[in-house]
């Protein structure tokens, strides 16, 4: 291979990368606003679904969640009374940060949880999105957030083969409740 060849090859690859870069930037510029808009709509729908009786769900406070990502505490109000809180938080899973919503009533009893995004192993860790798993959290208090391998009615049953992801969600829910408790202790208006 002589010098002329090396230059030719370099130019070849540089040209392809440059063209690809332009095409990808344009696609990104077109699709990203749509993606963000749909994501925001999904979040609104998920908030509404968690506490349906709330007349307004407003952002009350932000905090630093797992991985330095921004977590948000929402306050749900109906007829002038606080009916619950929703914490938008992240938890470190097996292969990704699991993004979730945790809804609790003012006494910290869990109303429900929702998984917004995750990249866990399909058919294993990704099953944290399944109804049976998420449903286990409903009505539980913080002291019952213990992951058990095998059947359980009182605690959280791990997804078989995906204990790490199951634990990540459970600990994430616990951390979300702790964050909310600390925030309310500091700010009595919350």
């Amino acid at each position: 291979m002589n010098n002329k060849d090396i230059i030719k090859i370099t130019l070849n690859l540089v040209a392809i990368c440059a063209i690809a870069g332009v095409i990808l930037s344009v696609t990104w510029a077109i699709t990203n606003p749509v993606r963000l808009r749909k994501k925001a709509e999904e979040l609104q729908a998920a908030l509404k679904e968690l506490i349906p009786q709330a007349q307004s769900v407003t952002q009350a406070k932000t905090f630093v969640s797992a991985g330095g990502k921004e977590g948000i505490i929402y306050k749900a109000v109906a007829n002038g009374k606080t009916v619950g809180y929703i914490v938008h938080a992240y938890a470190k899973g097996y292969s990704s940060f699991i993004e979730m919503l945790v809804a609790v009533d003012p006494d910290y009893r869990i109303i429900g949880i929702q998984i917004l995004s995750e990249q866990e192993t399909p058919s294993l860790g990704a099953d944290v999105e399944k109804k049976w798993f998420k449903g286990q959290f409903k009505g539980k208090t913080e002291d019952r957030l213990v992951v058990i391998k095998g059947e359980t009615k009182t605690d959280i049953q791990a997804i078989s083969g995906a204990t790490i992801s199951s634990r990540a969600v459970t600990n994430g829910v616990k951390a979300a409740i702790d964050t909310l408790r600390a925030a309310r202790a500091k700010d009595t208006n919350l």
């Binding site: 291979m1 060849d5 030719k8 090859i9 070849n12 690859l13 392809i16 990368c17 690809a20 095409i23 990808l24 696609t27 990104w28 699709t31 990203n32 749509v34 993606r35 749909k38 994501k39 999904e42 995004s117 990249q119 399909p122």
Partner: protein, 215 residues
Amino acid sequence: MKTNFMATSYKKLILNGIFSENPVFRLALSLCPAVAVTTSVKNGFLMGVAVLFVMTMVNITVSLFRNLINPKVRIPAYILIIATYVSITEMMMRAYSRTAYKQMGLYIQLIVVFAIIISRAELFASRNKVLPSAADGLGMGLGFLGALVLVGAVRELIGNGSIAGFHITHGSPLLIMVLPTGGFFAIGLLMGLFNWIDQKYYGGRPGGGGGGGHH
């Protein structure tokens, strides 16, 4: 393989990808996604459409620039072209088809390394004009799409008792068919059926231009 094609040849090229050189059943290429995503008709269809788009566009692009790409770096060049189209597909899905993206996101990125795409770029598009290359990509893509839908249908029917989400049977189906093991069963059975039909009605020769079945 440098030939001039007539109108009838295009039809032949497309049919070639669907039947006599079907990527999954005859060439046994890209079996990994054929097993991984075909737990239902819908998933198989979505993956098939993504591959159809990427394959056709890659074939057209490679053919257009075949005289400009230096043979010494042709493989990296093809990979870059494939990766570009896969990224476009992924971004589009993320914006316009979010539920599908949630289910398939991980596998869409894997299209970059599908053997069937790079093998068509290398074996066909780099040696032929644009239109025949487009026809080849279209045929191969349709063949892949059809195979994935078929495998998905067999697995969904036996494993879940439904086809494309519509329940057909009652009672407990054979769960193993939606597990990875069932993917191999379904592909093996369909491949056998394909060969049997080919032998019986067309007196076809067994095995096409096979090769390793990686990804």
